[in-house]
């Protein structure tokens, strides 16, 4: 693996001597904006190196993203290398084949698990990709199943007009009510079967509406409830009435303070690890 990396590096060094715009290694994942002004590569590259050194002064138009995955890095690099070559020499298809052949060779040196699936896939698809490297999508004006045409059709279908919508809604409500009705009947039938009525313990607050008729029984507007709640005085007696309560309150306060202190300490250790105390 290390061997291979070295090789790649060497190759890159060789490349970087030539002024070639697309020539930047992916290892230093400094990503330039596509920027016509960067045509003069040499100064740009120099700049890049500088930036790399002091990441605090990294360029505004370049964004550094740190990748954790070394393995893929090497691979991406390699691939990029090859692709670049391919582009440069302008014989894309032939070179592409050559690339695959080569990569196969070099892969053998690698450990097994590193044989990239992706490359295998490309190998599989080689024939196809070579034939039509850039697949052509039709404009889709005839076909309503996908793309722009579909979205437009969907749009128009979703707006059938107020009348139709109204009708659909009515239908829904009628069927919904029927369903509810049926459910109710079933329930009643079940209950009536043995001549018994099942009495259940009713948890929680009383329902405000009668479940059968929908009539409001003892409805309370939420606003009113809230109002009431705020008006209710907090219990004044009780909290600090007995001595033991005071003692307990003090104790728990101290406990809370102590736990907060511990928390802060932990937090500061984390911050220290993250170098958050350096004001420059």
């Amino acid at each position: 693996m290390g061997n291979l990396k070295e090789k790649v590096d060497k190759k890159q060094k060789k490349k970087s001597k030539k002024p070639n715009n697309s020539d930047f290694s992916e290892k230093d994942v400094m990503i330039k904006k596509e920027d016509e002004r960067n045509k003069a590569t040499r100064p740009a590259e120099k700049k890049k190196r500088k930036r790399e050194k002091g990441s605090s002064i990294d360029g505004g138009d370049a964004i550094q993203i740190i990748r954790e995955d070394d393995v893929t890095k090497a691979e991406g690099e390699k691939k990029r290398n090859k692709l670049r070559k391919k582009k440069k020499e302008g014989r894309s298809k032939i070179m592409f084949c050559a690339y695959i052949g080569k990569s196969k060779k070099s892969k053998k040196k690698k450990k097994e698990h590193e044989t990239s699936k992706e490359d295998e896939i490309i190998l599989e698809k080689r024939g196809e990709t070579n034939q039509d490297e850039a697949y052509c999508i039709s404009s889709g004006d005839e076909d309503c199943s996908k793309g722009m045409k579909k979205w437009l059709t969907d749009y128009h279908q979703s707006r059938p007009g107020l009348k139709v919508l109204q009708q659909r809604l009515d239908e829904f409500i009628v069927s919904h009510e029927e369903k509810l009705e049926q459910e109710r009947k079933e329930r009643e039938a079940q209950a009536a079967e043995g001549g018994w009525t099942v009495v259940k313990h009713h948890k929680g607050r009383k329902k405000t509406t009668d479940s059968e008729s929908g009539i409001t029984v003892g409805s309370v507007a939420p606003a009113a409830v809230e109002n009431q709640m705020t008006k209710k005085k907090p219990k004044e007696v009780g909290l600090e009435f007995y001595r033991f309560q005071k003692r307990e309150a003090q104790r728990s306060e101290i406990m809370a303070l102590r736990s907060k202190f511990e928390e802060d300490r932990k937090r500061i250790q984390q911050l220290r690890a993250a170098r958050k105390f350096r004001p420059y």
Binding site: I57, T72, L162, R265
Partner: protein, 1050 residues
């Protein structure tokens, strides 16, 4: 004892900070210092005594300071000793320098050398000989010129030793000449003239600054001794000094030649010690607070501070200098460089910091010590003057009493203060004119390469955007003449009658006509006009940061914001009509706007569409109308009723039924057009489309009950969302009323987030809250008053906030009490519970708590996730750096500014480019994307079915037919993204919902991993996936590019 005294987290943090910045006086460091000093000594010893020097080699300097008779014979310095912060053990990283005082020998000077800069010239010649010999020595890496407090006539030498020590990077020795008892102190009295060139019609004027400049060298050793006596052996005082230094360094406008420096801080501290305001029992943070309080609030400043308790000539000093800290034994005002404006800036900063200590709570430490308060972030407007090659400002010589750069600073300062009058709260002018590593040998003419920097803080927007400057009473001849002289042709003599004054007075005034949305440019025009009128500079050398980012917000040449008045008018009409509706079972009880366009925070508020009005005939059109129209959400509440169904689905259907009825009614009684889908009902009114929503309170209470019973399983119903939206909308609306600049800042922020393809990660409301935070809790700044400053602070907030470990509490109405905060904190801790085991396991990676949403569930619960947030932070960081550089240094061509909104396309696995002319609003596309790397996987043609503009041939027919052609809320990009998410869930898409023509794709790691395991045999080829992706966007996708292989392995 420790656990008792250190309960405050602030104290703990301060301790850590001191540890971080203070230098350990370890044996190796001491040795390095001693070695460097002794090798400097050796080099100086090699200089032959009685070497005759004439100053020819440095003739440029001698000429420019205006000295004559500078020949002398070189003698060795009388003494060499270490002074400065090193001797106090208070060196603060990252500026690690050791001051080395070399005492100039009396034999080299004549008695009268204090006259006419002879001392300065000789001092420089002496140093340049030393420099020559130091250069011969290989134990120094380099020897450079620098200056004492930016004073060009007093250069010092910076010596970099060749030996390096890892723990003290960038260590230098500063060689500072001193002039102990060279001259008679009485001759350097404030009232005396010692520069003969400075006179007024033959009468010499006093030269207090020149005299102080010499006196300073004469007493520097004495004062160092004095400081040593105070500081050595008092650890807490030294630590307080370190804290104050860190504090000052973070404040660029305060830590400068005409304001504060480390030495002066030490002097102020020792004053406080001498006057028993600081005592032995205080901790560093307490001393810090006392000192700031003294700086900000003490009345003593107006009388002058005297280190010894006496002072017969107090008023004398006060007349010559705005700030006086005087040492009666040496007769020098140590603060002779401080200017009035600098000092008031210092007092402001100190007062703000005290406020931070009081109000910021847990964040105080970060606000005070860790936040960089530089010009771009602090001031609302920054102006750069490039005075390179401008000969006007030194026409009367480089150095008289003051140096020409300082007097020019003064001039610009007073011009702008006068011109801006009460528009500006403060105007700060700083010219750090001495570039590092410059050479003085050839004279001082090259010291103008650095730009002069002006920072302007506005008082209030009302004042700043005022269109008229009322001047003098026209009858008062003297005043009027002055006013005319200042404003020149610009002033108009008008009959501007002052109603307020009750008597009809004719006043002079200056008028700055401006359209509403261009009012922020008034200030720019004033500054430019004044500077051009009174200084001999060209227009191109004035660089102001005001409107450079406006390009991202305008349509063509006009800001769509200018339609907001007509939009609000239309909304009023709509709300009236809604309330008047009689033919529905329940009356409309309230109407509330929800869309950001109503609160001026929409990047592109809609323009009135010619086809969406009620008028019966087809209007004549000047330009092609857009074929899409953005609907604006409006929330309706109905009268209460017990007849609502109980289950969610039925409630929603009932709402739709109501809305349809409302729509029909509006159609019938007002002739408005209504169009609807099963979920949405839109009505057209005066060119706008409004989307109506009903809030049903019962739905709300249902949800609330659910929360009570089961915290984890949270059903967020439509009503809940609507309710939160309405709360948010009304609060933000209130905020916008208080801070008119809030809207533009939010718009820039939203545009930035979208243009870097984060539309899916950060919701608009979250952005509004983030920006709101800058306004409701502006400390350590004051609330921003310009869009660029606000935008920069937004970027820095994103980049620097500690999102993982702290909740961002946006207290919109400033009504949180401690128990609210505790509640928020507890909820925050709940979301971070899993962090320690698994750093990916975090909900609400960006925790935004507000009064209506204390658990951060409304906007940022699911996105951004941790990875997205990291990316966002990285982008914000680099954009903030770029913006800072643009304001301070870089050449301001528009391209560099555009880079803030240009996004790199190579951070994705694949990129889809769209047909720009099939976007619903092509005019919103900032930069057509291009891609010249990666592999082209597929390309496609544009569909003919959709055009963003209605072509003339579409415009035939009646208005009703045309209205049917108008697409409400049709957005191909959104449809496409929805299809993508449906079809291939292994891809994550990054896009710009405001009108970008590119979509970035990344492979979701977790999914692909699972896929690997589950269906190892049936692995999907990324190329095939991408083809399918392209296929799904038929007619919209221009091309699909494959950039880099997804990480398929573990």
């Amino acid at each position: 004892m420790d656990s008792d005294t250190l309960t405050e987290p602030m104290e703990l943090k301060v301790l850590e900070l001191i540890k971080e910045v203070q230098i350990d006086h370890s044996p190796s460091f001491t040795k390095l210092v001693n070695d460097s000093v002794s090798s400097i000594q050796n080099s100086i010893n090699k200089i032959p005594n009685n070497l005759t020097v004439t100053g020819e080699e440095v003739a440029g300097f001698v000429r420019d300071v205006g000295a004559d008779k500078v020949d002398f014979k070189f003698k060795k310095p009388k003494s060499i000793e270490i002074g400065g912060s090193y001797s106090l053990k208070c060196v603060v990283k990252p500026d690690i320098n050791v001051d080395l005082f070399i005492q100039l020998p009396k034999e080299c000077f004549h008695e009268k050398d204090y006259l006419n800069h002879r001392y300065h010239a000789k001092r420089f010649i002496y140093l340049s000989i030393i420099k020559k010999f130091l250069n011969l020595d290989s134990s120094f890496e380099k020897v450079e010129w620098s200056t004492l407090q930016n004073e060009a006539r007093k250069p010092v030498l910076l010596v970099c030793p060749a030996d390096k020590l890892a723990e003290v990077p960038g260590f230098v020795v500063r060689i500072i000449p001193t002039a102990k008892s060279l001259f008679n102190v009485a001759k350097l009295d404030l009232k005396r003239n010692n520069v003969r060139a400075l006179n007024q019609d033959g009468t010499p004027l006093p030269t207090p600054r020149y005299n102080s400049s010499i006196l300073e060298d004469m007493c520097s050793e004495y004062n160092t001794e004095f400081l040593k006596k105070t500081f050595l052996g008092w650890k807490a005082l030294g630590e307080a000094l370190v804290l104050l230094k860190v504090w000052a360094r973070q404040r660029n406008s305060v830590h400068s030649h005409d304001c504060l420096n480390g030495y002066l801080i030490a002097i102020i501290l020792s004053y406080l010690v001498a006057h028993e305001k600081v005592n032995n029992s205080m901790r560093p943070l307490q001393i810090f607070r006392v000192t700031l309080d003294f700086i900000a609030n003490s009345k003593l400043w107006s009388r002058g501070l005297f280190l010894q308790k006496q002072g017969e000539d107090r008023m004398l000093y006060k007349e010559s200098f705005p700030v006086v800290i005087c040492d009666s034994t040496t007769h020098i005002n140590l603060t002779f460089r401080i200017k009035g404006s600098g000092f008031s800036e210092l007092q402001d900063e100190a007062a703000l910091t005290l406020k931070c200590l009081e109000k910021s709570g847990d964040g105080a430490f970060e606000d005070i010590f860790m936040t960089k308060i530089d010009f771009p972030a602090k001031y609302d407007y920054c102006v750069r003057l490039n005075l390179k090659g401008n000969s006007e400002f030194y026409s009367s010589g480089y150095c008289l009493d003051e140096e020409c750069w300082r007097s020019h600073e003064q001039k610009v300062q007073s011009l702008l203060s006068q011109g801006l009058s009460d528009r500006a709260r403060s105007v700060r002018v700083i010219w750090r004119n001495i570039p590092s590593g410059c050479s003085f040998e050839n004279g001082l003419s090259t010291l103008d390469v650095e730009p002069l920097l002006v920072g302007i803080s506005l008082s209030s927007l009302d004042k700043a955007f005022r269109v008229v400057d009322i001047g003098a009473d026209a009858e008062n001849k003297e005043e009027a003449a002055k006013f005319r002289k200042f404003w020149g042709k610009r002033q108009s003599f008008g009959d501007l009658r002052m109603v307020k004054l009750l008597k009809a007075q004719v006043r002079l005034y200056v008028l700055w006509e401006s359209e509403q949305w261009r009012k922020h440019l008034i200030l720019k025009r004033i500054v430019e006009y004044i500077l051009l009128r009174h200084l001999a500079i060209s227009k191109t050398s004035i660089e102001q940061t005001v409107d450079q980012l406006d390009f991202s917000l305008v349509h063509g040449v006009e800001d769509p914001m200018s339609f907001s008045a007509s939009l609000l008018g239309a909304f009023d009409v709509l709300s009236k009509r809604l309330r008047l509706i009689e033919d529905i079972p329940l009356k409309v009880s309230s109407v509330q706007p929800l869309d950001p366009a109503f609160r001026c925070t929409s990047v592109f508020p809609p323009e009135p569409h010619p086809l969406a009005s009620e008028k019966g005939n087809v209007p004549r059109l000047h330009k092609l109308p857009s074929s899409c129209i953005q609907p604006l959400e409006v929330m309706i509440q109905l009268e209460g009723s017990g007849n609502w169904p109980m289950d969610d689905v039925a409630i929603e259907k009932t709402k739709s039924a109501f809305l349809l009825k409302i729509g029909e009614s509006l159609e019938n009684s007002w002739g408005m057009t209504c169009t609807a889908t099963e979920d949405d009902v839109d009505v057209f009114l005066s060119g706008y489309a409004f989307r109506l929503k009903i809030l049903h309170e019962r739905g709300l209470s249902l949800v609330k009950r659910e929360i009570g019973s089961d915290q984890g399983k949270r059903v967020s119903s439509v009503d809940q969302k609507l309710f939160v939206c309405s709360q948010h909308s009304s609060m933000i609306n209130g905020l916008q009323g208080i801070f008119p600049i809030y809207g533009p800042v939010v718009r820039l922020a939203k545009r930035w987030v979208a243009s870097h393809m984060f539309s899916a990660c950060l919701s608009e409301e979250a952005i509004e809250l983030l920006v709101a935070h800058l306004f409701v809790k502006p400390l350590p700044f004051t609330a921003p008053c310009s869009r660029i400053t606000g935008f920069l602070r937004f970027l820095r907030l994103l980049a620097e906030y500690d999102w993982i470990f702290s909740p961002l509490i946006v207290d919109l109405n400033s009504d949180f009490n401690p128990s609210d905060k505790k509640e928020i904190h507890d909820k925050f801790m709940l979301t971070r519970k899993g962090y320690e085991e698994n750093s990916q396991n975090i909900s609400s990676a960006m925790f935004l708590a507000t009064s209506y949403d204390k658990a951060s569930e409304a906007w940022t619960r699911l996105s951004p996730n941790l990875l997205e947030l990291k990316r966002l932070v990285a982008y914000a960081c680099s954009s903030a750096n770029l913006l800072t550089r643009l304001v301070l240094r870089d050449q301001t061509d528009s391209y560099r500014w555009e880079c803030l909104f240009r996004t790199p396309l190579n951070n994705y696995n694949a990129v889809i480019l769209l047909h720009g002319d099939r976007l619903p609003y092509p005019q919103r596309l900032l930069f057509p994307s291009k891609l010249n790397h990666g592999r082209l996987v597929a390309h496609g043609n544009a569909s003919k079915a959709f055009q963003p503009f209605m072509l003339p041939r579409d415009l035939r027919g009646s208005l009703d037919e045309l209205k049917n052609k108008l697409l409400v809320d049709f957005d191909p990009l959104r449809c496409y993204i929805a299809d993508l998410e449906k079809e291939c869930n292994i891809l994550k898409s990054w896009y710009d919902s405001l009108g970008g023509d590119a979509i970035g794709l990344t492979w979701e790691r977790s999914c692909s991993k699972k896929r690997d395991r589950d269906e190892a045999g049936e692995e999907e080829d990324p190329i095939d996936v991408l083809k399918a992706v392209g296929e799904a966007g038929k007619g919209f996708v221009k091309s699909v590019h494959f950039l880099k292989a997804p990480r398929l392995m573990n």
